[in-house]
Symmetry: C2
Subunit: 476 residues, 2 copies
């Protein structure tokens, strides 16, 4: 670690060099620029660096030691001590610098967040073992920058999985990995080019909407019916690119039947430049009936961009998503955008590869399915008494369900449902919050309940509180 | 792993169910959709999945076993065998699907690439040890999505390092992490907004130019003199945002003196919306004189965006870069773009944090400095005989130098220098390839030599071959 200490020579200042160093470091420690626990450079390193004698730096350190700013640890060097409690010159934190995490904190006993995942089931042991295997020093090439689309082997493994599990027609060369769906959308937007009009199911996954909005795209919210996005409206609104979740729409849980799928593909095929982005975000979890194949598998005209992620099936912190580009876009990507280096660490790519091909991913998915199925069944069982007042929707897949009031918006509003729950210590999510614009007044009040990261006890407790909150309301 | 096997019932087809399954799987294996070594689902899982009896799936598997497509491993399940050498239906690979890595392959004995790093010095042991420590199952929160700017602790550690080592004025809340500089530029471009005109030093780091170009920015190449980018031309070309490398310009190695720095800062401060992007890509390595502080440290008007990376100081595969946003841009980021989740794996962020605060990074940098210094000194010593014909430039820092011909372009062209080297099995890089447009005719022929990833033997061998190639030319 270098130290930019502005030293003044004897002709410039009467303060001895050692004292200038000591004062500088003391100020750094008091202002928390140097944090407790950080290691100072050795006296020799610092001396060489500042072109002063070693005794000078030693004197400065001795002074700091004697004043209790630092400590010397045998064989390890000098470390900054915690000066909490000491009279300190606390560095000002301007209001704009308040950490953002504060904002999202909120008191609640049970949070039915639809975006959680179960982390109790994460295979820490296997992950650790694979990591250890990957990080051996005869694999030096892993530390160089790799293939821009992602490791060839990993793309092969993902391609084979997508083909088998989701019926996706894919050659590994069509796959591009990225650090999350948002990054892939940033890249895809460049590949699509020409400022396309985006059509999105409404309600939808708002994070994707935010990306398009941030990029200055024209985004048209497209209404859905019981079969999914209305293709007639795509036509009417002059949409170029439709963003859809046909296998399990978020958040409504609607599964697009084959008729609507064909209609959608026909729409895309009818005009040059039309594309469908298929976000297959949680297809791994389905509790009833046959698995729903990906729309991409029925695409005969190279119009579907398939996007998937390991955020839900493994963990959000992993940051590995992938997209399958149809031929024309792949070509454009290769010509103009393939210079972008992969945003996924090559080490992580290799860990994931081992995780996939060793069978650990399959075992993990089976475990997760069983875990989520148990939570899902418990939640539905506990909710039964509420079915007098609510219909349960979207309950055959994923890790969230919808609770739709049987009463009209005039009798009880969605906001009221959310607030009553909050007053009872339960966080639930109004369906309105998933809409792009406020065009949702024709829906009866509906709340979204996610259960992935809740224990069975929490689910039971949460529903118990919900019942009290909503029944109480009824009695009034 | 699910299997989308399209089964036909007895009324639809005379082929028994087990045979349909067997045929499907066989075709998958032959076409390499199912790769050698992959594990099939258990007979029970598959049976449940397809809603057929377990004996049906068992019969299908038995057939595959007897035909040698799969093998059964005790306690582990069924695995696909390698069918290489067997008569197989090879899946067509269309020309567009040829892997891109093929293109960049090129025969040479010694490659003086300026983009390499020394991987012999990577601290595999320490990295493994830290990783093991991080991946313990009581740290579950690490697997949830984290702070959008990056972990608070890591930003504190980076901030403290930047302050001490580079004189950067930074509060941790100003730091945004990203998976590589390119991603940060994509994000920064959104934050800057309003389609600014970008001015870049010419020659420059072409990868950054490509990002701006891909985003449709107007990029103006700005000529340099001995002190760096010409500020008068920034004014004349009506540039809004200047992209510069003041501490060690890439590839010229020019260090911007304090006078030019002040002139540049003054230019930025003179009009609303002007900014300076300071890419401090390899400031860690400097062999002579005092360290050059970052330009950002002298910025009084919140005009400098500081960008740094661990790609060079640790490894490119790590994919962790950071930017320090000045107040106005931080505010805009918070308001409009903070919804983007971090593109860096939270696990990796925590590994890096431990690496920084344990002192391992400091030790690693010291080791790298010594290693690079030794290579640098050797290269210069070996090049001495060539100094009759060439001047050596940019040799006090970084991991590359420039070799500038003392003769005119008319006598020997840069292309010829590159080609003669190639004929001798040595890859060198013409300075022309770093220019944005072909406005470089006034430079004498110059080649760039990087040495980071070469061993001392390779450096010696490479220079020996270069000498022969260039001396031969002289004799002619």
């Amino acid at each position: 670690m270098d130290l930019m200490i502005p030293l003044q020579t004897a002709s410039e200042s009467k303060t001895p060099l050692y004292e200038q160093i000591y004062r500088y470091l003391k100020e750094e420690i008091r202002s928390k620029a140097l944090l407790a626990g950080s290691r100072l450079p050795s006296t020799r390193t610092l001396a060489e660096h500042l072109k002063v004698s070693r005794s000078t730096t030693q004197m400065a350190y001795d002074q700091l030691l004697s004043e209790g700013y630092i400590e010397a640890r045998p064989y390890r060097g000098y470390f900054v001590l915690d000066i909490k409690g000491m009279l300190e010159l606390k560095r000002e934190t301007p209001a704009e610098f308040i950490s953002m995490e504060e904002e999202t904190k909120r008191d609640c006993v049970v949070d039915f967040s639809p975006r959680g995942i179960d982390l109790e089931s994460f295979p820490y042991g296997v992950w650790r073992k694979i990591t250890k295997k990957i990080l051996v020093d005869d694999k030096k090439e892993l530390f160089l920058s790799g293939n821009h689309q992602g490791e060839q082997t990993l793309r092969e493994a993902i391609g084979s999985y997508l083909h088998m599990a989701r019926g996706v027609q894919v050659h590994p060369e069509q796959i591009v990995l990225g650090a999350g769906n948002e990054y892939l959308l940033l890249l895809l937007w460049q590949i699509l080019g020409g400022r396309p009009v985006i059509g999105m199911e409404n309600p939808t996954y708002r994070q994707a909407y935010r990306v398009f909005f941030a990029l200055g795209c024209q985004v048209k919210p497209i209404a859905m019916d019981a079969k999914g996005i209305r293709v007639d409206l795509l036509e009417k609104e002059e949409v170029d690119v439709a963003y859809v979740m046909p296998s399990h729409q978020y958040p409504t849980g609607v599964v697009m039947p084959v008729g609507r799928r064909m209609e959608l593909l026909r729409w895309a095929g009818e005009r040059e430049g039309r594309y469908i982005i298929e976000d297959d975000y949680d297809s791994e979890f389905r509790y009833r009936g046959k698995p729903i194949p990906a729309l991409q598998g029925s695409d005969q005209k190279e119009r579907v961009i398939y996007i998937g992620t390991f955020s839900r099936s493994i963990a959000p912190a992993i940051r590995i998503s992938y997209m399958v580009l149809p031929q024309p876009l792949l070509q454009r990507y290769r010509e103009k955008y393939a210079f972008y280096a992969s945003t996924v660490s090559r080490i992580d790519q290799n860990i994931l590869y081992e995780f996939l091909v060793s069978g650990a991913y399959e075992r993990h998915l089976n475990k997760m399915r069983a875990t989520y199925k148990a939570k899902h069944d418990l939640l539905l069982a506990k909710l039964r008494p509420l079915e007098v007042d609510f219909r349960i929707l979207g309950e055959h897949a994923g890790v969230h369900i919808l609770l739709r009031s049987r009463r009209e918006r005039e009798e009880i509003s969605e906001e009221e449902l959310v607030e009553r729950a909050a007053a009872a210590g339960v966080r639930v999510y109004g369906l309105s919050s998933f809409f792009i614009h406020a065009r949702h007044n024709f829906y009866p009040p509906t709340i979204v309940l996610g259960y992935a990261n809740l224990s069975e006890e929490e689910i039971a407790e949460g529903v118990k509180r919900l019942k009290e909150a909503y029944m109480k309301e009824k009695k009034e």
